[in-house]
């Protein structure tokens, strides 16, 4: 078998556009997922039983079903339910945000729970009102502790985003498959796609471990 990577140059523009699409909807889903996840984590730690159970059910549902099934459902079923037309891009962003919100909320929740009771005692001893305690003492520590986890969620989401090719979104994976079909050179093209994913994913993973080491040193005083 002869490998020939030279034809890739010809398709670099298409691959580039695929990568940009991937980065765009992953980026949007990360930001929306962060906000949604934070709201969910508040629900998961709420004393209101109704809010607690609704948010818990939601999180467990999205953690307990395959992302691919969620994607298909939102691509094909949600528009029917809502009676609106949604672009593939919109559906992908919604699906991945809903999913990453569930995952992110767990990171926030774990971080909130990991803050020692003694920190709350110290706040009482210093006479800090609840609002000041939450905003200036508890939240900053929770966010710092959640950062390494949140970053690895981003890496996972970036990789899982390749699933949207299954519903016809022209992301990097989809573009790669198309080219592979056209030129009948699946080995070269799929290897190239894998390498592109790796070039983005690897620095992200490294960043996670770097941040983890540094932050934990500060936070675990």
């Amino acid at each position: 078998m002869e490998l020939d990577f030279s034809f890739l140059l010809e398709y670099s523009g298409v691959l580039w556009r695929g990568l940009l699409t991937t980065l765009q909807f992953v980026g949007l889903a990360v930001v929306l997922g962060l906000i949604w996840g934070f709201i969910l984590s508040m629900g998961r730690t709420s004393k209101n039983l109704f809010i607690y159970w609704i948010s818990t059910l939601y999180v467990e549902f999205f953690r307990g079903t395959p992302v691919l099934v969620q994607l298909f459902w939102i691509f094909f079923c949600l528009p029917l339910f809502l009676g609106v037309d949604m672009s593939g891009f919109t559906s992908a962003v919604i699906a991945l945000s809903l999913y990453s919100g569930a995952i992110t909320s767990e990171s926030f929740r774990a971080a909130l729970k990991s803050i020692e009771a003694s920190q709350f005692d110290a706040c009482t001893a210093l006479g800090l009102p609840n609002g000041v305690r939450t905003i200036f003492v508890i939240l900053p520590q929770a966010v710092l502790r959640a950062v390494p986890n949140l970053l690895s969620n981003v890496v996972s989401l970036f990789k899982e985003s390749a699933l949207v090719s299954a519903v016809g979104m022209a992301d990097l994976m989809y573009v790669g498959q198309n080219i592979a079909n056209n030129v009948a050179r699946p080995i070269e093209i799929l290897s190239a796609v894998a390498i592109i994913y790796f070039c983005i994913g690897f620095p992200l993973t490294r960043a996670v471990s770097m941040v983890e080491g540094r932050l934990l040193k500060v936070v675990k005083a």
Binding site: E116, S118, Q119, D121, A122, T124, A125, L126, G127, L128, P129, V132, F136, V137, P140, Q141, L144, K217, V218, V219, K220, A221
Partner: protein, 251 residues
């Protein structure tokens, strides 16, 4: 009239009873050191004094004011104004790890007492200077030794001008060579006339700093006396037994 008056204190954790009617008085120039076997409620008493524990019965007065009025089922009444006059230092420092030393000292004065930032900062720098920590003002807690952390914690409490300081085993988590610097800081405060309630396992330090040593066991005061008397000539058998055990262990 006593400066601190604890009357009929009742404290339970579920079915576990710590105090069933505990009484203790303290004068305004006193430094009370609480000693006794572990689990006898020394730390719990300090936590009750700080308002960190729900008290099922009894009252605590501080100065001329009613401070805490215990009641079952979480119906305790606590006077927040009086609570502000009490400062506490904990065994495990409990500094805020995401804030610098200066940030730790200034947070409460600025955010809950409405003191101007510049004013709080000047006061903080003054306190750090006094404790020999001026060069650590911009360090983070993770960059400090245990002894330094604990002295920062003391300074943080002093920022709020407490009328009573509580020290809960503040040297227990420290390496032996760091204990002295914290104890010296406390001695300095004592000499400046700060009323204190101290829980410690260091009998030598207790003897030096206390005006009154309180030996308690199973939620009751067994004996309270000036250190010279309590250590030199204990009146109760249980005090003698306890002291024989701990002093023997200490060598």
């Amino acid at each position: 009239m006593a400066f601190v008056e604890i009357d009929g204190l009742i404290k339970r954790y579920g079915t576990l009873s710590i105090f069933e009617g505990f009484d203790l008085n303290m004068g305004s120039t006193d430094r009370l050191v609480l000693i006794g076997p572990s689990g006898c409620g020394k730390s719990t008493l300090l936590r009750c004094m700080m308002g960190l524990e729900d008290i099922a019965g009894g009252t605590i007065r501080l100065g001329d004011d009613d401070y805490i009025d215990g009641a079952p089922n979480g119906k305790m009444k606590l006077n927040r104004q009086v609570q502000k006059e009490v400062g506490m230092v904990f065994q495990h420092y409990t500094l805020f790890p995401h804030l610098s030393v200066l940030g730790n000292l200034c947070l409460a004065p600025v955010r809950s007492r409405g003191i101007k930032k510049s004013e709080a900062r000047d006061k903080a720098l003054g306190l750090l200077e006094r404790f020999g920590l001026a060069d650590r003002a911009n360090f983070y807690p993770s960059q400090l030794s245990g002894g330094q952390k604990q002295r920062v914690a003391i300074a943080r409490a002093l920022m709020l001008d407490p009328k009573l300081m509580l020290f809960d085993e503040v040297t227990s988590a420290l390496d032996p060579e760091l204990v002295v610097e914290v104890e010296n800081t406390m001695m300095e405060l004592a000499e400046a006339g700060m009323p204190m309630m101290i829980v410690t396992h260091d009998m030598h330090f207790a003897r030096n700093i206390a005006t009154q040593v309180v030996f308690q066991e199973r939620g009751k005061v067994i004996e309270a006396a000036p250190p010279k008397d309590l250590f030199g000539n204990p009146q109760q058998d249980r005090t003698r037994d306890f002291l024989r055990n701990v002093l023997h262990i200490e060598g």
